[in-house]
């Protein structure tokens, strides 16, 4: 569907609120919407998580299957991340293969899992050069009310942390929990005027000049970043966002991903 032009009167209102230090739904600039997380709802998956971030709803399913390793990493398992922006989730999503937004989303989710070292790929080797475990992370967006990056990333790590390697099914020993060694959490902010707003909703995303996602690990280091939207961002602003991102990520990790 073609995107509807946002009324200027609505943009003016959001801008006016921002100048007063307010948001349309009453949140503080660095405040997240309510988060809920349920795991294990999809029994056909080896791990799954349903995330609600406000009204944004994302289902992540993890499937683990034996397959061939890449030839340049013969003793390492494989992670494949995919995101489906199905047209059920928003009037602006269209059927068809993933577009650049879906591909970017999948790649940022993947980056968090991969770069944090959350999954020890070497432990997923079954027979070097021949057979390794392939971990498929499938992100299924169900309701897009903004900030898909954070909701999807949270869903991915929660699904992985509750996933089982289905070894028995393939006569490769007993089932065992997928070892997860770190807990990456993504936090996203948009810059609007000179203000930084965390966990943007769809309206805030559409008026924003710049968006920045910061993925942090359990020890507080940064394992992935992504700036998107065609705007500028200053170095100072980046540091400011990173500082708050670390705090928010820590809270989310403690509340939802307590190991």
């Amino acid at each position: 569907m073609s995107d509807v032009v946002m009324a200027e009167i609505r943009k003016d209102y959001l801008y006016h609120l921002m100048l007063k230090g307010e948001r349309a739904d009453g949140r503080a600039f660095d405040e997240y919407r309510e988060i809920s997380l349920e795991t294990g709802l999809i029994r056909k998956a080896d791990g799954s998580a349903l995330v609600r971030l406000g009204k944004t709803t994302v289902m992540v399913g993890v499937k683990i299957q034996p397959g061939e390793p890449f030839s340049d990493t013969p003793n390492k398992g494989v992670i494949i991340t995919n995101a489906e922006l199905v047209p059920l989730a928003s009037p602006s999503f269209e059927p068809g293969p993933p577009n650049e937004v879906g591909i970017e989303l999948a790649r940022v989710v993947d980056r968090g899992v991969r770069e944090s070292g959350a999954i020890d790929l070497e432990s997923l080797c079954i027979t070097p050069g021949e057979k390794v475990w392939i971990v498929f992370i499938d992100v299924h967006i169900l309701d897009d009310c903004g900030n898909l990056m954070d909701a999807s990333s949270l869903g991915a790590i929660a699904a992985l942390m509750t996933a089982t390697v289905p070894a028995a099914q393939y006569a490769l020993g007993e089932d065992y929990p997928l070892p997860v060694k770190d807990v990456p959490v993504a936090t996203t902010a948009v810059e609007f005027g000179d203000s930084v707003i965390f966990d943007p909703d769809t309206d805030e995303e559409s008026v924003a000049d710049t968006k920045l996602t910061v993925i942090t690990t359990a020890d507080g280091s940064i394992c992935g970043m992504q700036k998107s939207r065609p705007g500028f961002i200053s170095q100072d602003q980046i540091y400011r966002i990173v500082d708050i991102a670390c705090e928010r990520a820590k809270e989310i990790r403690e509340k939802f991903l307590e190991v």
């Binding site: 509807v4 032009v5 946002m6 009324a7 200027e8 009167i9 609505r10 943009k11 209102y13």
Partner: protein, 225 residues
């Protein structure tokens, strides 16, 4: 016998066994009046009718609506009127004469307008007009959206609800038939007005709403002062 009188009904529910009583939102099958909609059934002037609980705005001549300029094509503005059908505002339908090359100066893409449906043909081509002094460009205030099926409730009998709101809230409020509401006043009043509008939308199908809204406003205003 009207088994479903004054009730929530789903499509296909039997409303009456007298086919002559088929009203708005109903159809007749096998001699029975049945509902075409998920909505509230009631008896009105000897007919059974169903008022939907959800649905899109379908433009009808004479409706006043709030639109957003989406595009400018030849001598028409293409206007989103919160409907499956976009509206066309021809350059000749303005209160004053302007030239083709002035169109985007007069009404930019993204501008909001209060506008009237002039004509709708059988293929749902919707012609709009702004040629009335009560219509025009909205430069101030705020616009909210509610489900168009709740508009009659927000207006109330003879305008009772909306007039009460205007008086109590000290705001200028305009309700478009397409479910877009424009309010203008000071910030606090507008906040309360929009909050109230959303409550009315949510509770449109309940009784005693006007009294409850009055009470709600009294409590809110007391808390504010």
């Amino acid at each position: 016998m009207d088994r479903m009188d004054r009730n929530v009904v789903v499509p296909g529910d039997i409303l009456s066994d007298d086919p002559n009583r088929s009203g708005e939102g109903t159809y007749v099958k096998d001699g029975c009046v049945r509902s075409l909609l998920y909505g509230m059934a009631s008896s009105y002037k000897d007919k059974m009718r169903v008022i939907p609980l959800a649905g899109k705005y379908v433009p009808s001549p004479g409706d006043t609506v709030i639109g957003t300029i989406q595009d400018i094509v030849f001598s028409n503005w293409i206007i989103n009127i919160n409907s499956p059908y976009e509206g066309l505002l021809h350059i000749s339908e303005l209160p004053r004469k302007i030239e083709m090359n002035e169109m985007s100066k007069y009404l930019r893409i993204g501008s909001s307008v209060m506008i009237r449906v002039k004509d709708v043909d059988s293929t749902m081509k919707v012609e709009l007009t702004m040629n009335d002094r009560r219509l025009g460009i909205l430069t101030r205030g705020r616009v909210a959206e509610i489900n168009p099926t709740r508009v009659p409730r927000l207006i109330g009998k003879g305008g009772s609800m909306i007039n009460m709101l205007k008086k109590e809230l000290n705001c200028n409020i305009f309700v478009g038939q397409n479910g877009r509401i424009w309010v203008d006043g000071n910030d606090d009043d507008m906040d309360l007005a929009l909050k109230t509008v959303l409550i009315i939308e949510k509770e449109a199908h309940t009784t005693g709403l006007t009294d409850r809204i009055l009470e709600f406003l009294r409590v809110e205003k007391e808390a504010r002062s």
